[in-house]
Symmetry: C2
Amino acid sequence: MNNESQIRTLIENWAKAVNNKDIESILAHHSADIVMYDLPEPLQSVGIAAYRKTWDLFFEWNKDLGSFKVQDLHITADEHVAFCFSVMKCQGRDKKGEVEELDFRLTVGLKKINSQWKVTHEHHSIPANDPA
Amino acid sequence: MNNESQIRTLIENWAKAVNNKDIESILAHHSADIVMYDLPEPLQSVGIAAYRKTWDLFFEWNKDLGSFKVQDLHITADEHVAFCFSVMKCQGRDKKGEVEELDFRLTVGLKKINSQWKVTHEHHSIPANDPA
């Protein structure tokens, strides 16, 4: 597999792991020093332990639903550095238990370490309606 | 200059151009097919014309202030592909004209084309308080 295919597979497997709520597989290809800019607060989460914690909040909202979807992945890869981005879809339940859908944006930065691609940066967000 | 220094200079000059409200210099190292995930809506802006337009909204809020600041830039660069990210600060004026400060997150994806680094992806965001 070339670098682009390797990264596509990594991201697809990661999204599958999110849908399976399989935290060990979510973390399987992430580096110890990952910097996460998550959709909810805080502003940033530094390191794999903080990254792991960000998923608690997601699963709390996502509940029984498994609908974390990569819509259109764009990959730019060299031999040792790559980034990719995609518009995403996911679902959760509001306080009444009703299903709500969320469109968001994902950017991922990767580095090849010992011949293996590792995620060193993730950025998830929705547009702010009124930043002020 | 090595790749990392080239990218640091590119980002510093871009931030300087934002502070100078110099739109031509803001666009100087951006590719025609850039995909922008901006802080306010829309979900995505595709292509350089759409990217240029995203700055209108920023300058409308930023007004006379020039305070677009890169706080702590992390760069990962190979020969032809790179990404970088930083926590950022900027200022604008609310409807009463009072200065307000905004902390946000920036991720940038770059590709070397004809020996020149070009920005092909940008992601700006603030955390959502309540994505639901």
